[in-house]
Every structure is written in C-alpha cells, then in structure tokens.
Symmetry: D2
Subunit: 336 residues, 4 copies
C-alpha cells in the first residue's frame, strides 16, 4: 500500500521531506504541493515529483480526497490553522515544530483532536527516533541504572548568525531537549530556572551565550542543560543520565579513531544536519507506517503542547532570573 | 520504477533479502521464487510476498521475461550454474558468497560476463557497504595518514559449533577480510602465511583456533588478521591501518557508555547478525539502484574470483606452514 | 639537608604521613610525636620511627628547638590553636583540613601569619598536587580553550556510613572542589545555591543525597558540582571545563582496557584512598621542599579561609534554598 | 640506612641516575664517580654531588670499601668487565642495558654470579616497573582473561636519526619488548621471524622501517611486534594480550581529554623520555631497596642473557628472512 501525501510549504525542510519520500522511504508518494510562492512548488515538480499537482490553496489540498496524509512544513505561525484543517478533514498530519506558536494554539489542536475522537497529529521532533537516544532509553527502561535522579545535558553549536536571539536558545535550540527528555524519562517538568554564565566573546553583542537551564520534573529528577551556540569546536549533543546505581551516557556519533600529529582523536561533527540525519528518515517512515496502520505513535499534539508550555516557562525564567513553575493543563485520558 | 526480482533459494538468507525488499528497500518487489524445497517457497508466499509466483525450476525463473533481476541465495555449490544462466539471459544477478566454490568456477563467470559485454554480477560481500569501513576508506583515500604500510585486523566470534572446521576459518570467516581489505587498499594479495598460536581450550578438539593470517600485497603492505572464533567475549571486528604518518582505526559500533559496578564500559556485540545489519540493507539497495541505472558497481565477479584465489592460498598455507604465493590471472581491462 | 618534623595527632592520617616521611619522601625525618592518647604515639615509635620522642604536650613539641616543622593531623577543632602556636614559634606548619572549624578561626591564622611577616602555613588540600588536575590547569593556562565559562563537576562516592550528614556533603566532600576549583580558575566564588534532586533509596533516612551545588565566580564563570555519596558504582571525580573555544576534561585514572564478557571496559576505583594516593606524596614532599627553601607555596592560610567562607555559604544555601552570597574579607597584599 | 653508590659512566643516563639519587629517591647517596673523561665527573661534582670522590680507575672505585653498590652507565662494550669486577668484589651492581654486548658475555656474568653464590646484578630494563605494565600483568595473573594466546604489540617513535640502522630496531628498540614480554608472560621465546612491510618514505635510505617481528614462546603464545621508528605521529607503546576469554590492553598514558576544533582528542607523547619517566624512579629505588634488603629482585643477569639471545635470533631473522630458533642454555636452578 502506498499513501498519497500532500505537502504544505516547499522550503528547505519541505523539500528534504519530499526527497526523502521519493528516494529513501517506503510506501509513500508526494502527490500534492502548496506554497505561498507557487514557483517553489513548480521547482519541486520539475526536480523531484513530476506527477505532483500544485494547489494554490492549502485548505483545498488538505480536503482533496486523493490526499491521504498531510505534511505541514510551512512558516511556523501558519501551522495551527493547517493542522486544525487536517483534523477537521479527518486526515493524519505530520507537523514540523512548532505545532503552534503559543501553548494555547497547541491546546486548540489537542481539543480538536479529542473532539475528532482519534489521534491524527505527529509533531516533527526527531530525537526520539535517533538510535543513540533509543539505546539510552533502553538502558534506563531496563532498570540497569536504577531510577534516574539527574540529567546533565549539553546542546552546543559551533556558531549562530546575528539574527539568533537570546530567547531562541529556548524556542529553537532547547526545544529539542524539552521534547526528548520528557520522553526519555517518561516524566513532566514542574519548574525552570535559567543561569547566565560569563558570556563568550564570540557571541553577538545582543546574545547571552552560553546559558544553563535547570529543570525539575514531577518525579523530582533534576536536569541541567548547557546551551552554548557559539562554542566554536563543533555541533555536540551530550546527555548523561545519573541513576541510583549507575550512569548512562548518550553515544558519541560513530567516528574513525585516528592517531596523528601527537593526538589520539575522533571527529566531532560541525554540521547539525548530519547529527540526526538518520533520525529524520526513521521519523517520517514511522509517520507513513502509522498512517497505513491507522494509529499514531510518536510525538503527539499533547507532547507538542507540553514542549510549548515548558519553553514558555524557560523564556519567563530567562527574563525574571527566578525559578518559574511549569504549569500544564491536566493530561486528558485520551493521550494516556 | 520498480524492478521485479526472482529469488533462488528461500532459506534463512534468502528470506532476509525478501523481507528487506518488502519492508525496507525502495523500488523492488519479489515476484518469483524457487527452492529445492517447494514448501519453503509456499511459506514465503504465505508470510511475505503473496503475489510472488513459485517456479519448480530455477532456470525457468531466470528466463521468465517478467523477472528483471535475480538473487542467488541457494546452496553454495549451485551458485555458479545459476549465475551463468542469469548472465546468459542478460539479467543482473546478485549472488551471495561464494560466487563459485572454486576459483576456476569464478573465472568461468568472469569469462561469461566478458563475453556478454557488460557487468551483470554483484557478489554479496557487504562490508564495503558498512558505514564504518566507508569512513575508514575515506580517511585512507584522503591521504591524511599517508600510504598504508600495515594493517592489523581481527575477526572474533564468541563461539562456533562443532561442525566448524579449521579451513572454514578461511573460507567462511576470513573471506570477508579478503574482500574488504582489497577494496580498502585498492591493492591485491601476493602471498599468504598462516600461524597457529597456542590453542584455546574452548575450541572443538578438531579445530585449530585461534589462527593468524599474514598477507602481503602487491604494493608491499603487510596485513595480519587474527581469526579467533571461540573468543568468548563477543563478536568483534577490528581493523587498524598504519600509514606513513598516522593510524586510522575502524569505529567501534555505537554504544551507550555506562558507569556501573566499578566499570566504565561500552557494550560489545555478541550476535554477528547485528554487526553489519545496516550494511545488508545498503548493499541490496545498491544492487537495485544499479539494476535501474543499468550499471553494476560494488563487488564484481572479478572481486569474487580474487577472494577465491586468496582463500585457496590461505588454505594451502594452513596445510603447508609455508609462505604461499597468491597467483591470479591478469586482470582483464573489462574490470578496470 | 634533612628537616626534623614533629607530628601532632597520630591517628590514621597522621600515621600515613609519618610512613610517607619514613619510606617515600626525601629530606625529612619524624623526630617528635604528640597525641591525646600517648599509646598511639608509642605504637608509632614501635612500628615506624624508633628514634622519635614522645611529647605529652603539643605546645612543648612545637617549641622544642630540634623540631624544624610541624604536621597538624589531630582532631579538627584543635587545629587552630596548634597552627597559631607554630606561627608564634616561627615554624612552618602543614595542617590537614580544616585549617580551623570556622572562617573566623581561619582569619585569626591569616592575621597571625601576616603579623609574623612571612608565610608559614600549608593547608592539606592535595588535589592541586594531583597530576590530572595539574594537566588540566596547564591546558587552561595555555589559553588553548579560551576563557573558562562553565565547569561541570562531580564528586561521587560508592557509599557513606550512617554518621554522614547532609552538611558533610559540603564540609567533608565539596570542600575539596571548593579548594581546587579556585586554584584551577584563579578566581573566587561570589554566590552559592544548592539543589536537591530526587533522593536515592540507598541513602540513610536523614541524608539528602544527591545534591547539586551551583557556584558563581567573580569572573562570571558558573560551576555545577554534583555530590552523590551513595552512587554505588565507584569513587568518581569528574571535572570538565568549558571554555570559549573548547572543553578540557580531567583525565580518568589509568586503567587496563579490557574486552571481556561483551563489554569493553576500564576500571573505576571504589576506594577514595587510591584516587589521590600519589598526590599525597607530592603534597608533603612539596611542604618539605618549601621548608628547606624557606618559602611556602601551595594552599595557603588564605586559601584555607576562602574554602571555609565558601563552605559556610554552601551550608547556608542548603538550609535556605536561596542563592547565598559568598562574602570574603579583602585579600591582603601579603598573599598576592 | 643510606647506601653509598659509585657510578661508572657520567654521560646523560649516568647523570640522570645521579640526579635521581640526589633529589627523588630515598636511602642512597652517590659517593664515587668514574668516567673515561674526568671532566664529566668534575661537572657532576660541581652541579649535583659536591661530596662525591672522583676515581681515575673504575676497578678502584668498585673495590673501594666505602662503596656499597655500583651503577654501570658507561659505554656498552665496557659493561661486562665492570659487572664481573663488581661481582668479584661481592657488590650489588645495577647495569644499564646491554648487560654485555654478546650473549656469551651475559653468560659469563651469569656464571660468575652463580660462582659468587648470590644474585648481585640488576639489569636496567625499566618497563617491568611501569605502572601500566604492572597493571596489565596483574590482570593476566588474575586469570581474568584466561591463558594468554597472542600478543599484539607496537613500538613506535616519531623519528630517528640517520645513524639508526636496521639491526638497531632489534638491539635498541625491540630489546625492551624482549625483556618485558618474557616477564609479562612468564615464558621464553623459541623462535623469531622478521617481516619487512613496504618502507615509509620518511626513513633514511639505508634503514628498513617499519618491521614486524613474530615471536613464538615455549607455551605456544604468538607475539607480533610492529617496530616503526619514523611513524611521525608520536612515541607510542602498545601491548594487547589476547587470552582465552578476554583481551587486556596496556593503558594509554594519562591525558586531559579535549573537545576542540572538531576533534575529541587526548595527547600522544612525542618524547620517549616522558613515557617511562616514573618507571626509572621506581626501578632504581627498587635496586636501592634490594641492596638494603640484601636480596636482588627485578631483571636478573639471566634475564639480560635471555634478552641477548632473543635479540641475536631476531637479527639473524632480519638477515635470513627465515624463522630462526631461539636457543638458550638451560636455566640454572640458581635463578628459579
């Protein structure tokens, strides 16, 4: 069985997913395209999907009976409306982060999905599909290190452009940890605090970099995440889980070990796109498989909402310097 | 475009490839099956490929016009005849190792292919498709460590059954190094020597284990491969390339790093099937892509022949205790 | 030249130092002993230093002209008086931690030393003499990683007895980090905060374990130290310095690398005494050399005071849950 | 108790040992010096040992009653005579390698020692005193990896001068492995073979570099040692022991772990003098302690002989290209 996918937003990420459907994944074909710039769609048709039809209107694409599932890869502020329309049309929808630009927007989607009576939404958080995080979760879940008590994490980029602002350290960068750590621990956040160390001289004048975010979970685990987006040396994702009887650490990406020039070394990636490149494939194939199976797994609308609420608290903590509670609506039975 | 594949031999390896075509790879479907035991085919139809047709005769399968390409995964001694028939039929053929049970048999295939005027054969050596070996080759080819002078390798299994014999250390185990090291170095073997260290008490009474194979290449590189098939601790593949200015080492498989019970540890695999699991997918997808593109890449009939000649020399070296020359036919221009 | 040492306090640590002087170090001999229990001294004479004289009174020992230098290894609350007496007598004194049980006591010693006109005191903080920390400091001082911005540290013990209390995590355990990190960064603390993660089930009912201490330095560096004294898996000291352009990490203790039982592993120590065993030798030899050279180096009375002030702030932070300022007297020119 | 040491040969190694006695070790003082160049002795007196007496004649130094023990650090060809004279005088003697320049010379010393009725000789092989090799031996002796079956070793220098010749790869370089591996395995060599890989372009025109030496032991273990003295990247000593149930590997020297410039790295030494710097101290202190205790331990005259015989076989194997037997005299009961 092959599902027919409609893609809304044919920018860089959209095209990546279209290429993925065409050349890597099984059982999916892109049949419908929409973009605010019709030329973008035409380029995709010319280069990747000659048989796809171009729609001037996203809602029309969503409602076309030949479209079985929708990919929302348009500009963030448009996500909420398109996801709601897909739910309304009873179609599975894969939405790149953010699910909505506000927590309320996410909650609107949650409510629409509950009303629709079945899960239709998968949010584009790819880390739970990374083989390293999966191996780490398997160790935790095995009980081998006892109950998790502390997580020491880092999210480092070699550099960011001048347009990157202090709050983007939360909304664009930490957002991935906010999602994956909830999943890793099967837990929720209850408070957030942000600490600003001495600033690196490599950062833009307006940017506070690095930052340390401290999170507390409902079960009492404490998480520290170092966010350092001008660390120079590489793109480096670290996650260490300290349990009652042992510590498990996220694997380093595979690398040839080199003895050369008085160093024993392995390579650290510098391009973030390579770090989770396989996870993107696994993530989208999982969505396709879910559509065929008729049952959503993976990051849900509720998970999108939870990440949004936690991000809001972290930004508030950046601004206030205080410990800020993370206050979520009660989790509907629908998502348990 | 989707190619129609016929599979000869539906034992364990055949079924793995059929499952792969059905659930992992792009652009291929299994449409024809043959096995000396028709019940095996029926099971595959029942479980994996309901639309595949069963042929009582392998040659008939090969010659059916609806079959675009052939997978030979039958018993080793039958390979040569089926590959020759596929070449005769002008069809691409993926043949699991060995290409033929003798070097002469391999040479027959080489000659048939040359006569056919184009490469049609891919031999099922998967290590050149392993991301670790590819990364290692990239380092060598970059010139970063200078010319390769020595290789220190190991091929270790936790244990083997009683039916495993001393020569199988060459023909079943070392055969993978014989293929991948030629590819890694872009070089040929000129001599082989085998050393028998003190025997482990864990080996069968008839089996000499471990063994060390010493190979010399045309460019003068020296290779030592430790073969140790009752090493107890794990399935462990090591390859270290000593160049003029540095040393590059095959990456260890990804693993969570654990601090537990007074040990800082990573996991060593014990099941060989997991070590190259991704490489099998990449290998067969490459074959499918080659069929579509109309041009074979990957381990050729000539490579199959080269591995067979080298293996013969190693077995002779086991028996004689001497340094045995590896004497190959001159490489036809066809394969350059 | 050999210096004559008088030792006050012949318990476990005292005896270790006496053994060290007798069998490992150069240019020192223990000639005088004092202990509240004279039998302890007699045992030392019988087993280690047949020529040492026993004094019933510590002050008499300090003032005996044949004693060139004093080791204070008695019960903590007695340290201040003995160190002051040694300063009064114009003699170099090595004092095990704590220099005094209060910050004021440390300040008394500082003032006495200033009045005496020359440094006479070395406090028994051994980590600056550890080859690992020295190598780490050399990397920082080389400028190779840029300015230090963050330190991620851990101090883990496999278990502690029931008498270990929550504040001892600061005064007995963190105290070593409080000393060595100031030295490593050449910086001072300005605030402290303590976070209590979910408690391990392995800890005594009265003990909060683990804890995370957050420190801020005058230069703006941020330090997090995980203290986990019932971590089960080993005695493990971690220190990672995140600089503007790179990260340097304290070396793991040397260990044979083992491939065994499906694990690639190195050993983690479980006995804290082995972790810094060489550092104790280097530390005491440095003191002896200083006495001969007539000039103190190493942890000074001021460093002892600084550690005491920081520890007080950390204990206050444990109790208040707040960010507590670390307020030190101005550093006298004498110690610059 | 302090022993009085006489040193014959005050070149670089001699001075290092004199400095060691003066500033690092316990219970020894250098009281007598001899060198073919009296000015060398005077420099040592001026700089290191003002109280030492200079002897124009080495035999006179050996026989002076005030000298308790002798260090022979003169030119290799003179060792045999000086060691024999020390034995004749009934004095303990520490002799730098080689014990004698021929195996027969070593045997003369062995016989003299047996005649003297007690062991007096310690040969200056320092690797058995290296903490890494000791830890490795402890693992082997614990039985944790079962019986040793194979050793994979490497001895690499970044570069050597033009005066370094092909046989020096055995007599100056491999000689350390020849000693330490016998000790590690508690075994003897029975055959040697030398393989010459493709030559590095960095080596002198007359030098064959790298080389691989294959050794077989009496118990059947097989050893391969890569000798590569122009490897460029560092001074690197590797030793991996493959046992029946696991593999133990010599620890890498301690190093700060660095994340910098897209590399996760540790430092490889480039200066051989730093690699075993601690082992030299431990070695000479052991000799001093042995003199005081009146009983020699450590590398004996017999061990010096065994290394010489093995080295002769390896040089013969270099020349012949054949497998050369290592034929030793029977081990006298005296050395068991």
């Amino acid at each position: 069985m092959t599902i027919n996918i409609g893609v809304i937003g044919t920018g860089a990420i959209g095209r990546e997913h279209i290429r993925r459907c065409s050349t890597v994944l099984q059982n999916a074909r892109v049949v419908a395209l929409n973009d605010i710039n019709r030329d973008n769609c035409q380029q995709v048709v010319d280069q990747l999907t000659p048989e796809a039809r171009i729609y001037d209107n996203a809602i029309e694409l969503i409602n076309d009976p030949q479209v079985n599932a929708v990919l929302v890869t348009s500009w963030g502020p448009t996500h909420e409306a398109f996801v709601l329309a897909a739910i309304e049309a009873g179609k599975a929808v894969f939405c790149e982060k953010p699910l909505a630009v506000t927590a309320e927007g996410c909650l609107n989607i949650v409510e629409a999905e509950i009303k629709a009576g079945r899960q239709l939404v998968q949010v584009g958080f790819m880390r739970p599909y990374d083989s390293g995080y999966r191996a780490l979760k398997a160790v935790i879940d095995s009980g081998e290190i006892g109950e998790p008590l502390m997580l020491h994490c880092a999210h480092r980029n070699p550099e960011v452009g001048d347009s990157y602002t202090t709050d983007m350290a939360i909304t664009d960068t930490l957002i991935h940890e906010l999602d994956v750590l909830r999943w890793l621990l099967n837990d929720d956040y209850v408070s957030a605090q942000v600490i600003f160390p001495r600033k690196t001289r490599k950062a833009s004048s307006h940017l506070r970099d690095p930052q340390i975010v401290l999170l507390e979970t409902a079960k009492g685990a404490r998480i520290d995440v170092e966010i350092f987006v001008n660390c120079e040396y590489g793109y480096d994702i670290q996650c260490e889980v300290v349990g009652e009887s042992g510590i498990a650490r996220l694997p380093e990406p595979m690398s040839v070990q080199l003895r050369s020039a008085a160093k024993l070394s392995t390579t650290i990636l510098t391009d973030w796109k390579k770090r989770f490149i396989d996870a993107y494939d696994v993530e989208l194939q999982a969505f396709i498989n879910n559509v065929i199976a008729g049952e959503m797994t993976g990051p849900s609308a509720w998970d999108g909402y939870a990440a949004a609420v936690a991000a809001d608290a972290c930004v508030a903590a950046q601004n206030s310097g205080q410990i800020v509670p993370v206050t979520m609506a009660e989790k509907p039975a629908f998502y348990r």
